[in-house]
């Protein structure tokens, strides 16, 4: 049995007939083809699947697509606006915030959310914010530096994240 799920993802409304048991991460990746969000541990431990649901980060392996019906989702694909990278993305480039890249989209979605609430987080606040996400490459040092870089280079004020 399927149900109609309509979700506004990155400003575009999508509707699909899916099973109620479909997880949001699979809806995003397989139904919508937005594969920037990664499917990792499947147990809400690793945070590779973090997207925003109604403007708050969520581990998309642990919510149903049905729960997002009528709501707003934002994924990593939306960080770039008009060909311009979000300062968080620029920070990850500038500070080598990734190696294999598997955790990166989730890390960046959490970082963007953190900076929207706290534009100048210190190292402890950044580490706390990403404490539910796992990176096996960087030892986190460069991720923390990348988020600090973004805080110091807030960039493009005419495209604040709230305009989604």
């Amino acid at each position: 049995m399927t149900m109609r799920v309509a979700v506004t993802v990155n400003g575009t409304e999508y509707a699909r007939d899916v099973e109620p048991r479909l997880l949001l991460i699979h809806f995003i990746r397989d139904e919508l083809g937005l594969t920037g969000s990664h499917w990792g541990c499947d147990t809400s431990n690793c945070g590779s699947c973090v997207v925003w649901l109604d403007r708050k980060p969520v581990k998309a392996c642990t919510v149903l697509a049905a729960m997002a019906d009528g709501r707003i989702v934002r994924t990593v694909e939306d960080l770039e606006r008009d060909g311009r990278l979000d300062p968080v993305q620029q920070g990850f480039v500038a500070c080598h915030g990734l190696q294999c890249g598997f955790c990166t989209s989730g890390m960046m979605m959490t970082a963007r959310w953190l900076l929207d609430r706290n534009p100048d987080p210190d190292e402890a606040e950044i580490r706390e914010a990403i404490s539910g996400q796992i990176c096996r490459c960087t030892g986190y040092e460069n991720i923390v530096r990348s988020v600090r870089w973004a805080a110091q280079n807030p960039g493009n004020p005419e495209h604040p994240a709230e305009t989604l």
């Binding site: 049995m1 149900m3 099973e19 109620p20 048991r21 479909l22 997880l23 699979h26 397989d30 499947d42 147990t43 809400s44 945070g47 973090v50 708050k56 980060p57 969520v58 581990k59 642990t62 919510v63 149903l64 049905a66 729960m67 019906d69 959490t110 706390e128 914010a129 404490s131 539910g132 996400q133």
Partner: protein, 307 residues
């Protein structure tokens, strides 16, 4: 597409009101879906296999945190992050902020709910002991109205509560006692193997002290909750009884810790052997009591200065 873990087939309904939710929940094999951060993992593992999920995330009336008639009222749908961010809750019961800081991780705390934690009734879950220490009351709504159950009678065992088919946990009420002469304070202390993990053991304490600020104080009432160590209803009743009327000092707290350790029932598992868990209960109970007493003294000092 081959998926590693997905829930089994299930029906999904979104409740548009509490009454609607209660009507849906009167069907057998139905589960409430709030944050879903315990239920969905259980469904992936087939540890839960409901016929239907009733999504209550739209029921905003169940998510408020407010002070009313001498009670801190916490809606069942309040998120962990809401309780952690609530200055009101933190002012009256710092134990909730201590506990919420160590529940899972910041992203999970944005979605997981207070009511969901209590109803999941996981023996290692932190809020059950915190609410037990505060002598809270669960308000359970059914189609015939509300019933109130002391949180110390709410859990029937691991993953089991008194909530029946057709009922919904609506809110938790925590009595805010009037100003104690010696102040009142609370705290929660947890040991986990790594950040964000379940407790190996944890202890929560609420102290109400009698006596003059700066003079001799005695413990008027102590509430002690224990997490993950097989304490009946998450309570260290013998240690609470021991403390009544005693001085709030290190000696009393250490003795209370020893009593709590003696009377709980931890089991050896991947988080540690039984004797280690008993050691933690003794130490964490004493630490939580010390911290609660320190906060009570501060509160009494503040009340004294206002006069």
């Amino acid at each position: 597409m081959l998926y590693m873990q997905v829930p089994a087939h299930v029906e999904y309904e979104r409740a548009t009101s509490v009454d609607h939710a209660l009507a849906l929940l009167s069907r057998p094999d139905t589960r409430v879906l709030a944050g879903g951060h315990s239920l969905i993992p259980m469904m992936k593992l087939r540890l839960a296999q409901p016929e239907m999920l009733v999504d209550i995330n739209g029921l905003a009336e169940l998510s408020s945190i407010k002070l009313d008639a001498g009670q801190l009222r916490i809606g069942a749908l309040a998120r962990h992050a809401d309780l952690l961010d609530s200055a009101l809750a933190g002012r009256h019961f710092p134990i909730f902020h201590d506990a919420e800081r160590v529940v899972a991780d910041p992203i999970v705390r944005l979605w997981g709910t207070v009511g969901g934690s209590l109803c999941q009734a996981d023996p290692s879950e932190d809020l059950s002991a915190a609410f037990a220490a505060t002598h809270a009351t669960a308000v359970i709504r059914g189609q015939d109205g509300d019933r109130e159950v002391p949180i110390r009678e709410f859990h029937l065992g691991p993953y089991q509560t008194v909530i029946a088919q057709g009922e919904l946990l609506a809110e938790v009420r925590v009595p805010v006692a009037g100003p104690a002469k010696g102040g009142s304070g609370s705290a929660y202390e947890k040991v986990a193997r790594r950040v964000g993990d379940w407790s190996v053991a944890a202890a929560g304490a609420v102290l109400r002290l009698d006596g003059k600020p700066g003079g001799n104080t005695v413990i008027a009432q102590a509430g002690i909750g224990l997490t993950a160590v097989g304490a009946e209803h998450f309570v260290a009743a013998e240690a609470e009884e021991y403390l009544r009327g005693r001085a709030p000092d290190d000696e009393s707290f250490a003795a209370a810790g020893r009593i709590a350790a003696e009377h709980c029932h931890p089991v050896a598992d991947q988080r540690g052997p039984e004797d280690y868990k008993r050691h933690l209960v003794a130490e964490l109970t004493a630490r939580a009591l010390r911290r609660a007493a320190g906060r009570a003294a501060l509160a009494a000092g503040r009340a004294g200065r206002k006069k």
